[in-house]
């Protein structure tokens, strides 16, 4: 009977309002998050990428005061990257502007050879035109990943058609507006979980 109640509760939560009340930011506690809470918050990496317009993008300065969702992936990714981006985009469409206007989603490519700025821009725009595409040299990208305790990405074997996979961390790193990474969201995180956590993350000091 307990599992049945769990199913009914799950269905109701999928249909009902997300998190607390109208989704507006509420004073949050990291323990309430559904993402993987980091034992020690991590500082935002001090790194400058290049955006899809070719302009320098200072990660710390240009995301100051925002809830920043940082993800390392690539546009030819067959599964993890498009699902993460699609789910975040879908949830942002459901949340009120009081939340969404304070969120920045950054997608740093781990495949700069194929992810030209144009390709990055077009690929991200299919999810949400506000998502920021960033590139950098391998050393810069790996340094940024190491700063948030993510493994460096690795290029796979090239097949006869010139295609290859890129092994990369599948987690989205969430920096609260104070610039600290409080939680990571691995692949498998659900839209309902994002909808629950994003308002809470905005309220964490």
């Amino acid at each position: 009977m307990r599992w049945l109640m769990g199913v009914v509760t799950g269905l109701t939560l999928a249909c009902g309002p997300a998190g607390g009340g109208d989704g507006a930011a509420a004073a949050g506690d990291a323990a309430d998050l559904r993402g993987r809470v980091l034992p020690q918050p991590l500082a935002k990496p001090e790194v400058v990428f290049t955006d899809t317009e070719g302009r320098p993008y200072d990660l710390r300065r240009q995301t100051e005061g925002f809830l920043t969702l940082l993800f390392f992936g690539y546009t030819n990714c067959p599964d993890v990257c498009p699902v993460h981006m699609a789910n975040i985009a879908a949830v942002l469409k459901e949340l009120p502007p009081s939340v969404t206007m304070r969120v920045k989603v950054l997608f740093v490519t781990t495949d700069p050879a194929r992810d030209t700025p144009e390709r990055l821009r077009t690929w991200l725009a299919q999810f949400d035109p506000s998502f920021v595409g960033l590139t950098g040299d391998t050393a810069t990208v790996n340094r940024a990943q190491a700063a948030v305790q993510l493994p460096p990405s690795q290029l796979g074997e090239v097949d006869s058609a010139g295609n290859y996979l890129v092994g990369h961390a599948a987690a989205v790193v969430a920096f609260t507006p104070d610039g600290l990474a409080r939680a990571m969201y691995p692949f498998g995180i659900r839209q309902a979980d994002w909808a629950h956590d994003l308002p809470l993350l905005l309220g964490i000091r």
């Binding site: 199913v7 269905l11 999928a14 309002p17 879908a90 459901e94 498998g188 309902a192």
Partner: protein, 279 residues
């Protein structure tokens, strides 16, 4: 080699894939039917038994073709691991389209042969009344749509096969009292059959509503599956809800209409001799 469609987590492509288990399953049903007709059809017929008609054969194989289309690539694979709307369409084909065609394709003499034994006859009689079929059908309906069941069976070919067979059998059980092929089983009168089908129109409204109005995807399998042509998980879920409600309702209301007009014709025919006598 994959024998039956199951979730793989791989990106979707339109490259054809073979699922020999589906062909074997469908082939066994078709072959069983052909052999039954060839070996068991009597030389002479009694009562309302009659030789197998071409219409019956066509209906049976149409039902088998629907089973094959629903279970095989691409619909079977899309349903198993990519799109909830595909799974819903597959479900409707498995319960609302294939079973009635197959049942209508079984000639009366063969049906009587199948329920010749005491236990089989009793079971057939119990299934000719509405309560047990309704309970069984809805129990399977609820069970196969539960998120934990879908999650637990997703990547397993054997579990997928078992689930699909259970769904198909639930469709056969559902349509048995509605089609009522054999008078000796004391089937329901037409008004009761119409009521039985009408009740079944409303019950799927609950999950269909969840699918249509949920803000977020209900099933992790379909939410986290590689996207097919960029179709969003919520949009896919909404289409699934509409499919369940609209297509399922269309089939049931269509069948109810046919039954109503048949009943009307029977009533008219029964009244006509009395009118002639009175005149």
């Amino acid at each position: 080699m994959n024998w039956w469609c199951a979730a793989s987590g791989l990106p979707w492509t339109w490259e054809w894939r073979a699922f020999p288990g589906v062909w074997l399953f469908v082939g066994a049903i078709a072959l069983g039917y052909v052999r039954a007709l060839r070996r068991l059809e009597p030389a002479r017929f009694a009562g309302d038994d009659a030789p197998t008609t071409r219409r019956e054969i066509a209906l049976f194989f149409a039902g088998v073709a629907v089973l094959w289309l629903a279970a095989d690539w691409p619909l079977g694979l899309l349903a198993a691991g990519y799109l909830l709307s595909a799974r819903t369409l597959q479900y409707l084909l498995f319960v609302m389209v294939a079973p009635p065609l197959i049942l209508l394709g079984l000639p009366r003499w063969l049906l009587r042969r199948l329920i010749r034994g005491r236990v089989a006859f009793r079971l057939a009689r119990v299934l000719s009344r509405p309560l047990v079929p309704l309970l069984a059908f809805n129990a399977v309906f609820i069970a196969v749509h539960l998120p934990p069941v879908i999650a637990a069976t997703a990547g397993s070919q054997l579990a997928g096969f078992a689930l699909d067979v259970a769904i198909i059998l639930s469709g056969v059980v559902f349509w048995w009292p509605a089609l009522a092929r054999l008078p000796e089983l004391e089937p329901m009168a037409y008004p009761a059959r119409i009521g039985y089908l009408l009740l079944s129109v409303f019950l799927p409204t609950v999950p269909a509503s969840f699918y249509t109005y949920a803000r977020f995807p209900i099933y992790p399998l379909y939410e986290l599956a590689p996207r097919v042509h960029g179709i969003g998980a919520v949009a896919d879920q909404q289409v699934a809800g509409l499919t369940m409600k609209v297509l399922g309702g269309f089939i049931l209301f269509g069948t109810m209409s046919v039954m109503f007009f048949r009943w009307h014709r029977i009533e008219e025919t029964a009244e006509t001799p009395r009118k002639e006598t009175v005149a």
